[in-house]
Amino acid sequence: MAKITFDGIEVEVPDGTTILNAARQIGGSIVPPAMCYYTPLKGSGGKCRACLVRVAAGSAKDPRPMPKLVASCVTPVQDGMVVENTTNPQVLDVRKGIVEMLLINHPLDCPVCDQAGECDLQNFAFEHGVSTTRYQEERRTFEKIDIGPLIQLHMTRCILCYRCVYTADQIAKGDRIHGVLGRGDAAEIGTYIENIIDNDFSGNVIDVCPVGALTDKTFRFKSRVWFTKPVNAHRDCPKCSGNVVLWYKGNDVLRTTARKDQYGEVKEWICNECRFEKKETSDWTIEGPAHIDRSSVISANHYELPVLNQSVVADLPESTQRDLQKNPPLKLGS
């Protein structure tokens, strides 16, 4: 076991845990953002640099600070390590810079992007970025490629997190036909020879994509996500666990996704049949409303919890109070 101090909070974690996962054990607003790291995918992380933190003391044995900021998602903890994230202005400054870098070639087409409302890049930019840009050059574009009838690829929105590559390697085993082609800012996700990404688990690349680069073609332009209501459901599926979230608008199932945890990571991978074909309520056993973080825009239409101002409304139900404590309301403009 290793004991580390993260933003002044002590936590004990097993040896070999990464700094990011140690921070997640503490939870709350001190957890560094992660745009490319994905716990279920081996080898992911280290690329987006959103999770950079400062190590003020390397370990109990060698308490020297690390010379550069380190990517918390791939750096293992050492006993006695002291890490600074939100308490270090340099880290926050660098993070602002990372947002800027990720956005300079991003099309900012959120108004027509199906990912809007559940986009990691939107959240990241809202929380850590600045509202203006210093970039005045033409944004990078790519030739469109068609990767089949189920998945839509928008390369311009991609931040090259490599998650979909690892997913294809590890989840849809040995059946990867897409990858990163080219180099530098011309690098793109592609299939080299036009090909259809199609195997039983290929749809999972949609769920792992942090931005709107890979979206569900069967859901394309059907609704903004915040007008749909997520419901946990399951079915007896021979290929996967069958545990999904159905996204309803009225009585129609518009979309099916895997269930995700609070960090947006898929809990159980689902197969393409569950995702793309079973769009009737009668296909599923409904469990109840899915939990949506109350700071999410999807909660904005009073779906799960009323948007309440803690200081004005007295006698909140206990469960709501607990929830508020766990996820304090976002302060706008902070």
Binding site: G45, G46, K47, C48, R49, A50, L52, K68, L69, A71, V74, T75, P76, V94, G97, I98, E100, M101, L102, I104, N105, R134, Y135, E137, R140, I159, L160, Y162, G179, V180, G182, R183, G184, D185, A186, A187
Partner: protein, 446 residues
Amino acid sequence: MGRKLLTEHINVEGIDTLEVYRKHGGYRSVEKAIKTMTPDEVVEEVKKSGLRGRGGAGFPTGMKWSFLAKPDGVPRYLVCNADESEPGTFKDRQLMSKLPHLLIEGMITSSYALGANTSYIYIRGELLYVLRILEKAIAEAYAAGFLGKNILGSGYDLDLHVHPGGGAYICGEETALLESLEGKRGNPRNKPPFPAVQGLYARPTVVNNVESIAAVPVIVNEGGDEYAKIGVGRSTGTKLISACGHLNKPGIYEIELGLPVEEFIYSDEYCGGIWKGRDLKAVVAGGSSVPILPKELILKTAAGENRLMTYESLSDGGFVTGTMLGSGGFIAMDETTCIVRNTWNFSRFYHHESCGQCSPCREGTGWMEKVLHRLEHGHGHMEDIDLLVSVAKQIEGNTICPLGEAAAWPVAAAVRHFRHEFEWHVTHAKEAAQPGAVYRAGAVLA
């Protein structure tokens, strides 16, 4: 004239054949090391010699070797980084094409010291003709019993392979090189784990520059202490400097570390001064990624001392008034050189060569190039100059590998030392955009 340890016989007819190379004392270090020394003794000699990595970072080679993890029953590897592609650096190519056996001898001795039974030379893809020279030399070494099973009857086995890269600059970064050698896309790895623990095929690996490995035979033959006598302070031995740019005699020079920069540029023994009788304007002392310095700071340090060709003296003053010895790619620029255009050119290179894996470098190198392009072509604004510094700062230190720094340093240094030229490009946009236009001292900026 300083001593020449590596290149003494470089111009001997037929030195690329084993026979002639042997006549001039070749492969003595292999015999000495394998027959009379233990591997640890060889490592100890290299440590004593104070040899520092010649690829750019200047990390002590002996110390790097002693970091190599040596678990039982697990193979370890020595990889020679011959992916020399830094603009301004062309020393390894010459060394390998003229003296292939020197590198092979160094590889055998070093592999023996590290206990590696398979070693690789990862050579830049463009140097296909050098690859053929090396392969021919390796075949000769196999035939003479210096490679293969049971070398010189000692029971030590070594196989040596040459592997060409695809011509990507990034594959000169050691972990990207290992990825590429494994047959994957040449993306640098996250560290830790370091190659000394998990390198090639997840085995302990040492990656050394060609020149570092070529220095090992000399160290073994003459002894580490003897080698350490050459040079100044912690910069020991000799270094190949590939001098290019506006010099009377550009070329590759083997110098004893500690040579004054002024002597190197102006003495007839070396570069012979600036061509066409012009004045020196700036020098990039160690390959395109190190900070550029103006004439007054490259000849003398900020404290007024003579600047020497050593790791310490060149980096005296940090990045505010100093630079780095780097890989020894010495680029001299005369007074007709436009620094903005030159910086743009460097920047274009790093933009083209970024692997695109991590966001600051992928997006930032392109951004800097575009801003510099704008400035050079007369569309810049005063804010752009500070923007460049700011973007460079956002890249530096925040990337997976040192390519981010390599891209950021030249830009930041050019603005630091030649800000007036950037300003002139804004105030005299039309004039500056003309081909060959260059800021002249005393030009009015307003």
